[in-house]
Symmetry: C2
Subunit: 246 residues, 2 copies
Amino acid sequence: MNFGFKAILTTGQAPLYAQIRGHLLQRIALGLWKPGDLLPSETALADEFAVSQGTVRKALDGLVANNLVVRHQGKGTFVATHTPQRELFHFFHLVDQNFTRQMPETSRLISCQLRRGERHELHNLKLGSNAHVVVIRRVRRLYGKPVIMERIVVPSKLFPGLSENDNVPNELYHFFEKTYGVTIHKAIENIYATSANQETSLYLGLKQGAPVLGITRIAESLDGAPVEYRLSLCNTCAHTYMNEIV
Amino acid sequence: MNFGFKAILTTGQAPLYAQIRGHLLQRIALGLWKPGDLLPSETALADEFAVSQGTVRKALDGLVANNLVVRHQGKGTFVATHTPQRELFHFFHLVDQNFTRQMPETSRLISCQLRRGERHELHNLKLGSNAHVVVIRRVRRLYGKPVIMERIVVPSKLFPGLSENDNVPNELYHFFEKTYGVTIHKAIENIYATSANQETSLYLGLKQGAPVLGITRIAESLDGAPVEYRLSLCNTCAHTYMNEIV
DNA sequence: GAGTGGTCTAGACCACAGA
DNA sequence: CTGTGGTCTAGACCACTCT
């Protein structure tokens, strides 16, 4: 179907391809097209928006650059999904001495509870003052040794029933996407050095006061709302946080 | 002039635009076009390589995406330069509590000496076993307080006379580019937590053994060779290393 | 006004996947 | 074989910069 978009769109100032990019993005963010779905072909989209195929292509190129869609020659264009691969290479930055990433082994869940959010949690998640959150605490292992202690805070509203789940899977973002329709899109991490307190030292097998790497992460969903506030404390005796600057 | 590129190029398998991108990249890496230089116009390049303007455009788009060239409508396409802005936003990741970057103030140079490279330095810089290096040590300040202690190791061969310079400027990459024709293109950082030794604690005003953030950086020039091996030790009491995952 | 990059079009051909 | 995305072309018009 043709909504007569072009006539409307050309009245604006942004380039056509950017406007179409916005429309496509919106459909993904609204869940009209879910992760893994096949998008209409370029020619179909060109017909719908009444523009040339080249313009649709440029709009799609932008979405590819942002990891929002994936293209496969001969098959089509698909909404990107959180595969373990993507989660590992995109969101997991601890590497060993050979600079190779490894998938963390099954994590040990310490607790998963629903409670009223603390002030800094609510602030970071941009929630109202009485909102509840689900707090997941777990220890992640690499090569059999406990290396990361995590506290993950998410709004309970977006994850109904999560706190009753006593078997939170390892691949959290894949799980969020599949079970709750929440797609993590980007994140900001802040990294600092601190000392292990008693509990941390216990879980990570360190002396109390040993230096550990602290990482806070605020992750956004597709619509730009913060949906995860995470604190990771890492033993960096045998691993480092690797960051490529390109 | 027309070198008859197209006939040669089409025998290969890589797409035309990628091959042209490679040729342009080579001219930049070889210094034929230096930072700040104006490239020939799209039409001129299209003529030279005997392809359409659209193909040249796609090649240039790739270089733009890699921060190798900058385009200005109405003016032309220029080889990218290391402005203080770029150096700050691209290569400097320490932010304060408000998550804002700030330009480090004039750094205090501790030493700048020429000596035989140690084994791990030579390994990280991919140098032969008898190569010499220049080692710069300095303390950088933020808001008047010493926050970062740096040791920067570069091959002496690429930086003749650097060790006699007793006034190394703050903007190192801009200085490298302007004075030695060495353009830093990308880098890999590895981050870990450690304890301040006596010297570090002294320079950073910390107690001995206090947790500090360690950052090693290996930076590459345009031709892909490692040209800088840097260790930064940071006091993260009032700052964090910010990393955006997009 | 002349020259630059930025947008948009229409059409051709190729490479790949799947029925 | 058809349909998909990937490459490449030729040309039009616009927005911007400088003279």
